[in-house]
C-alpha cells in the first residue's frame, strides 16, 4: 500500500518529490471517492474532486492491485474506474437480484456484430446476419445503453453507424474493445474485414425480390 510511486506524467514531478498528498493518503482518498461514487469515474472526474494528481494512473493501478483477489475489485472499463464484487462470488450474491434483461438471439447477434465491427451500419449488420433487423432489436440495445449512434458513413445514402458505449464495456466486464473475446483471432482470420459489397450480393439478390 505504501509502495514507492512512479510518476508517469513526469513534468510535474521532475524534482522527484511527490506533489500534493502523500501516497498513502492519496490511496485512501481514491478508495473513498470510488467507493462512494454512483457512477464509474474517469481520471478527469477524479481530478475534479481530488485536484490534479501526477501519477494518478499509477495510484489507480496500485489500488487495483491491492484489491485483486479480494471480495471486491477495482476495475477499469473504457477508461473509467469502479469497484465491483468479484465474479466468482456471483452465486452468493445473486439470489435477491433480478436478472438483467433477457436478450433475444437477434439482439445478441446484433450486439456482437456492432461490438466486433464498429462502427457499422444497419445494412452491414443485415448483410452479416443474412436477414433484416426487426424494429425492436436495435431499440433494445440503444435503450440498454450499450449501443449508440456513431455518425454516418460518407457513402451513398449516408447510412447511420452504430458503435458500443462505455456502459457496454462496464456491463460485460471489458477494459476496452481490445478485450473482446477472440477479437484478435477473428481479425487475423479476416472475419472482421469490412463487409464486401459483392459478398452482400447474395443476400441483396434475394431481398430485392421480396421488396
Amino acid at each position: 500500500m505504501a509502495e514507492e510511486m512512479t510518476f508517469e506524467d513526469g513534468g510535474e514531478a521532475l524534482d522527484g518529490l511527490p506533489i500534493g498528498l502523500p501516497e498513502e493518503a492519496r490511496l485512501r482518498a481514491l478508495e473513498a471517492l470510488l467507493f462512494a461514487a454512483q457512477e464509474p469515474m474517469s481520471q478527469a472526474d477524479i481530478a475534479r474532486h481530488l485536484g490534479e494528481l501526477p501519477g494518478l494512473m499509477a495510484s489507480l493501478r496500485s489500488l487495483a492491485a491491492h484489491y485483486a483477489g479480494r471480495g471486491i475489485n477495482l476495475v477499469e472499463r473504457g477508461g473509467k474506474w469502479h469497484f465491483q464484487t468479484a465474479g466468482d462470488l456471483a452465486h452468493l450474491l445473486r439470489r435477491e437480484r433480478e436478472e438483467p434483461r433477457k436478450l433475444s438471439r437477434a439482439a445478441i447477434e446484433t450486439l456482437a456484430i456492432i461490438a466486433y465491427h464498429e462502427p457499422v451500419s444497419r445494412g452491414e449488420i443485415e448483410a452479416i446476419r443474412g436477414v433484416q433487423i426487426s424494429k425492436g432489436t436495435l431499440d433494445v440495445l440503444l435503450e440498454a445503453g450499450w449501443v449508440r449512434p456513431a455518425g454516418r458513413r460518407e457513402s451513398p445514402g449516408r447510412p447511420l453507424l452504430y458503435a458500443t458505449t462505455a456502459g457496454f464495456l462496464a456491463h460485460f466486464g471489458l477494459v476496452s474493445r481490445r478485450d473482446l473475446p477472440g477479437i484478435e483471432d477473428l481479425k487475423a482470420a479476416g472475419l472482421l474485414d469490412p463487409v464486401d459489397e459483392t459478398v452482400m450480393q447474395l443476400a441483396l439478390e434475394s431481398r430485392a425480390e421480396e421488396e
Partner: protein
C-alpha cells in the same frame, strides 16, 4: 428461439433436422438455417462440402413443402440461388463464366464463417461476468457531489468606478471643447505668401513650415499651408510642381506675378 438453443447444445445429426422442420418459424433467415445445416456436417466450417450443404438445404425445403409449411420467400429465393450454384459447380462450363461458381461457393462459406463467428462471440459475451447479474456495484453508494459555489468577483476599483459613473450620470452633463493649437488658414495664407514672395527657385513646401515641437501643430500647419498654397496658386501668386503622387511638393514665386 428454443429450436436454436436445442441445436447448439445437442449438435444434432440429420435426423434431428427433420424433426425440426416443424419449427421452421424459429430460424433467423435462410443463412441461419444454412449455418445450422453446415454445422451438422461436423467439420470445421472451412472444410464443409458446399455441394452437400446445398443438397441438405434443398432437401429441407422440399420436406417443408411436403409438410405444407409456410416458408418465407427469402428461403425459397435462397433455394433457387443454391440450385443455380449447384448446377454451376457440377456442369462443365466455359472458363470465363462470371461469376465463377467456385468463387461464389467460397463467398458463401465465408459468410457462414462470419455469421458463425459472431454467433459464438455473442454467446461468449453473454457468458461473461455481467454487471448486476454476476458482479455487483456498491449497493448504496453515498454518492459524490460537487457543490458549485459562485465566488463573485469584483474589485474595489469596479466599485468606486461604478459609483463615480453613477454620480456622473446623475449630474447634468457639461461638455468642454478642448482648445487645440492649430494654424488657421488666414494665418497660413499670410505666412506662405510672405515667405514665398522672395523665393525665385523651387523649394519644397516643408521649408516654409514653422519649427515647432508640437507634432499636432506641425500637422495642422502643413495642412493649412498646403491649402494656402493652392489658394495662392489660384491667384497666380505662386507656382506649384510635383513629379508624381507622394513626391515632394515644390513651390516658388509666381513668375508672372508682380
Amino acid at each position: 428461439m428454443t429450436t436454436a438453443s436445442l441445436f447448439f447444445e445437442q449438435a444434432p445429426d440429420t435426423s434431428d433436422v427433420e424433426r425440426l422442420v416443424i419449427e421452421v418459424g424459429g430460424w433467423e433467415g435462410p443463412l441461419d438455417l444454412l449455418l445450422t445445416l453446415a454445422r451438422n456436417q461436423k467439420v470445421d466450417l472451412r472444410e464443409i462440402s458446399i455441394l452437400a450443404l446445398v443438397d441438405q438445404y434443398l432437401n429441407f425445403i422440399r420436406d417443408a413443402k411436403q409438410l405444407r409449411l409456410e416458408l418465407a420467400a427469402d428461403y425459397l429465393v435462397m433455394a433457387a440461388w443454391l440450385a443455380y450454384l449447384k448446377s454451376g459447380l457440377l456442369l462443365p462450363r466455359p472458363a470465363d463464366i462470371d461469376p465463377d461458381p467456385e468463387e461464389l461457393a467460397m463467398r458463401l462459406q465465408l459468410r457462414l464463417q462470419r455469421l458463425d463467428a459472431m454467433r459464438e462471440a455473442g454467446a461468449r459475451l453473454m457468458g461473461r461476468d455481467r454487471l448486476e447479474r454476476d458482479v455487483f456495484l456498491r449497493g448504496v453508494p453515498e454518492g459524490v457531489r460537487t457543490l458549485r459555489k459562485t465566488a463573485w468577483d469584483a474589485s474595489l476599483y469596479d466599485l468606486i468606478a461604478a459609483y463615480g459613473h453613477l454620480r456622473a450620470r446623475a449630474e447634468p452633463p457639461v461638455h468642454f471643447v478642448r482648445v487645440r493649437n492649430v494654424m488657421p488658414l488666414d494665418e497660413a495664407i499670410e505666412r506662405v505668401g510672405r515667405l514665398v514672395g522672395a523665393q525665385i527657385n523651387w523649394a519644397e513646401i516643408g521649408v516654409f513650415l514653422p519649427a515647432d515641437k508640437d507634432p499636432a501643430y506641425r500637422r495642422s500647419a502643413l495642412a493649412s499651408s498646403f491649402v494656402a498654397a493652392l489658394e495662392l496658386a489660384r491667384l497666380g501668386r505662386v507656382e506649384l510642381a510635383q513629379d508624381g503622387a507622394f513626391t515632394p511638393l515644390m513651390i516658388r514665386k509666381g513668375q508672372n506675378y508682380g
